[in-house]
């Protein structure tokens, strides 16, 4: 996918060019280009170790990049990191408020730390306790709350000083599906109020809710765009094989030229394949030769297909790079 020409984007909240972070020999983030417009809910989708957290930490100014330029809300990072800290909120992956303080004490502490004037802080805390349904837990120790409650408290603490830009690092990894849905509703409310959000996740359903999305793999952005565009422009086709023996079908089709990924969905088999002539015929022949009954049905690609195709592509690219290097040496 060609990189979007976004130098012209006027209302960028985040703009990073050639962002790189090396930890010794390990390249955690590799020449990453990123543009996030104001008011967007921008998603980082990627497996563990793909560089999501490291990128977010660099954008917040918590970590110095090894190379590259960052501009966040008009602040050049890391130079203006202190100035930026007053305008952003950062919600860490792990619950990072104090478990041995009460809900109200935690928020009071954060208000003081963010220089929110006392009178306004009291008002704001009441308002947040209300919004995030924590009013009756005011005097409860944070450590004794459930995962969902802790997460709502963490979000309240992150938005207490009304930041223009929120970074959320896998915010829903420790909560149940119901809490996750509610949490995303809260995020959209914040977006409606004009806050820009950058959210990392490894859940497809969450990624699909973002207004724009970047798929990260091994420190690189391997695909980006709106979830809709990403799915529509997926180079390749998705088919559903309706068969009584999905496991045998999977074994028969794996390794066949043009097949990118296979996944059993209940009693049927989902096939992601590269575009090519007579695809269905070739697949059908293979099934027949292996003695498996099956019927093909084209289906619309979903985000998981996009994710698999994008991360798969970099694998192949790198394998080819490796071969090219071997040949030249």
């Amino acid at each position: 996918m060609p990189p979007v020409d976004d130098t012209a984007v006027e209302d960028a909240a985040i703009r990073a060019r050639g962002l790189t972070k090396r930890f010794g020999d390990l390249v955690a983030v590799d020449a990453l280009d990123l543009t996030v417009r104001r008011g967007e809910v921008y998603g980082f989708l990627g497996p563990n170790g793909s560089g999501k957290s490291t990128t977010i930490r660099m954008l917040c100014g918590l970590l110095k990049p090894s190379a590259g330029d960052i501009d966040v809300l008009g602040c050049s990072i890391p130079r203006d990191a202190e100035k930026l800290k007053r305008r952003i909120g950062y919600m860490t992956q792990r619950f990072s408020l104090y478990e041995d303080l009460t809900v109200a004490e935690n928020l009071g502490f954060l208000a003081a730390v963010h220089d929110v004037p006392r009178a306004r802080a009291r008002e704001r805390i009441d308002e947040l306790l209300d919004t995030y349904r924590l009013a009756d837990r005011r005097k409860q120790l944070a450590g004794t709350m459930s995962g969902g409650q802790k997460q709502r408290l963490a979000l309240a603490g992150t938005v207490l000083h009304k930041p223009d830009l929120l970074f959320l690092d896998e915010p829903t990894s420790a909560v149940d599906p119901q809490s996750r849905r509610e949490f995303w509703d809260s995020l959209f409310e914040l977006a409606d109020e004009g806050t820009t959000l950058l959210v990392s996740t490894h859940y497809m359903d969450e990624a699909e809710r973002c207004t724009r999305l970047a798929i990260l793999d091994r420190g690189r952005i391997v695909a980006d765009g709106t979830p809709h565009d990403l799915m529509r422009n997926l180079p390749g086709r998705t088919l559903l094989v309706d068969t009584a023996e999905p496991r045998q079908a999977q074994r028969a089709l794996s390794g066949l030229e043009g097949v990118i990924a296979l996944a059993q969905i209940g009693t049927s088999l989902r096939v992601l394949a590269a575009d090519g002539d007579h695809l269905e015929e070739r697949l059908g022949e293979r099934l027949k030769s292996e003695g498996v009954e099956g019927r093909f049905e084209p289906v619309a690609p979903n985000l998981e297909d996009v994710f698999v195709a994008a991360t798969r592509k970099t694998l192949e690219d790198r394998a080819q790079e490796g071969k090219a290097k071997e040949g030249s040496s």
Partner: protein
């Protein structure tokens, strides 16, 4: 440095401390417990120590002295020895703690009074027994004959440990030992905890500066240190009658400087440790040399020269000099300024090293 932010960190720290019952109990419990244990072990009124008697003169007066000493109840003569070798064997076997030796010329010595007439051999490896023997050394051997000579009637010989520790020296020293053990440990742990529990990652995304955080977290411990000093001095005075001959204000001033020195050591450790457990290990690593080499256990003058150099680096060494001078000799701070200056240098070095490391660790 923003005062409201600093204040909010102090308040937060105090709240957490109040809820951490175990730590809180240790802060108050350690000084009281150590003081009572150390103090009583040393001052205990010893009775009925097993002893042997070697009466080489065997006269009416020698038997009279043995009976009189036995009547004090301090020594209980369970064995009769016939030679110095007997005594040594009994001591080595741990069957006696002391032995009374009356030389063949006991009566002549009593007349001439140029040498001690009797000798008490003591198991010097035991502090309690030593101090008991010292009481016996004042025993009026000459009875009604009158006691005028400069030569003591009974000579005390420490059999194993020729060095003696005055109990009065222990309580002032304990002030320093207790401050070292609690403050270094708790500062280091409190600072590392923030990182280990993930709070630090949230905090560094806020306008809080590393130094607001460090100072805010450490300030409550300054107050705790002063409370501990008060406990030790109060209990020391109440139970053991340990005097403060110098100015109380100067004593507290010296303690404050030492508290800051201990805290800066704790801050330094916190920049090295990644986990609370590591911090604890490192803190313990600093305790041993401080307690052994500072002059708390063994006198500075008796140490080999390299140990003395090492001793000069330790803050406890200098605090012991300060606190003993003020409490026992009634000295002014001005008199002991070199120790004060040494603590100042220690604080400066620790903080400079810590500052350079804090920047790295947050990167």
């Amino acid at each position: 440095m923003n005062l409201r932010r600093l204040g909010s960190i102090v308040v937060k720290e105090l709240r957490q401390l109040r809820r951490d019952r175990l730590t809180f109990a240790m802060i108050i419990g350690i000084p009281t417990m150590q003081l009572v244990l150390f103090g009583y072990a040393i001052n205990m009124d010893v009775r009925h120590l097993d002893a042997a008697v070697l009466d080489q003169s065997n006269t009416a007066r020698s038997r009279e002295l043995i009976a009189e000493i036995a009547a004090t109840d301090v020594l209980r003569f369970k064995h009769t020895a016939y030679s110095a070798q007997d005594i040594e064997a009994l001591l080595d076997a741990g069957r006696i703690s002391a032995a009374l030796v009356l030389p063949p010329d006991f009566e002549a010595r009593l007349e001439v009074r140029d040498r001690p007439a009797a000798q008490i051999v003591v198991d010097g490896s035991d502090q309690v027994i030593q101090s008991a023997a010292r009481q016996l050394a004042a025993f009026p051997v000459y009875g009604s004959l009158g006691w005028t000579s400069r030569v003591p009637g009974v000579e005390v010989v420490n059999f194993y440990n020729p060095q003696r520790l005055a109990p009065i020296n222990t309580v002032p020293g304990l002030v320093g030992v207790i401050l070292t053990m609690t403050l270094v440990l708790f500062t280091a742990i409190a600072l590392v905890r923030e990182r280990e529990r993930g709070n630090l990652e949230m905090l560094i995304a806020t306008p809080v500066s590393p130094w607001e955080l460090t100072i805010g977290k450490v300030l409550p411990f300054v107050a705790i240190g002063l409370v501990q000093v008060t406990i030790v001095l109060g209990v020391g005075k109440l139970l053991f009658g340990v005097p403060v001959r110098g100015s109380i204000a100067e004593l507290y001033a010296a303690a404050l400087v030492f508290i800051v020195a201990s805290l800066s050591l704790g801050i330094f450790i916190s920049t090295l440790a990644r986990t609370q457990f590591q911090a604890m290990q490192m803190a313990f690593f600093t305790f041993l040399p401080q307690i052994l080499l500072s002059g708390f256990m063994f006198p500075y003058a008796g140490m080999p020269v390299p140990a003395q150099w090492l001793s000069e680096i330790l803050p406890l060494t200098h605090f012991l000099r300060l606190v003993r001078a003020i409490m026992l000799r009634g000295a002014d701070l001005i008199d002991v300024w070199p120790s004060l200056a040494a603590l100042g240098v220690f604080i400066a070095v620790m903080l400079v090293v810590a500052v350079s490391r804090v920047h790295k660790s947050l990167d």
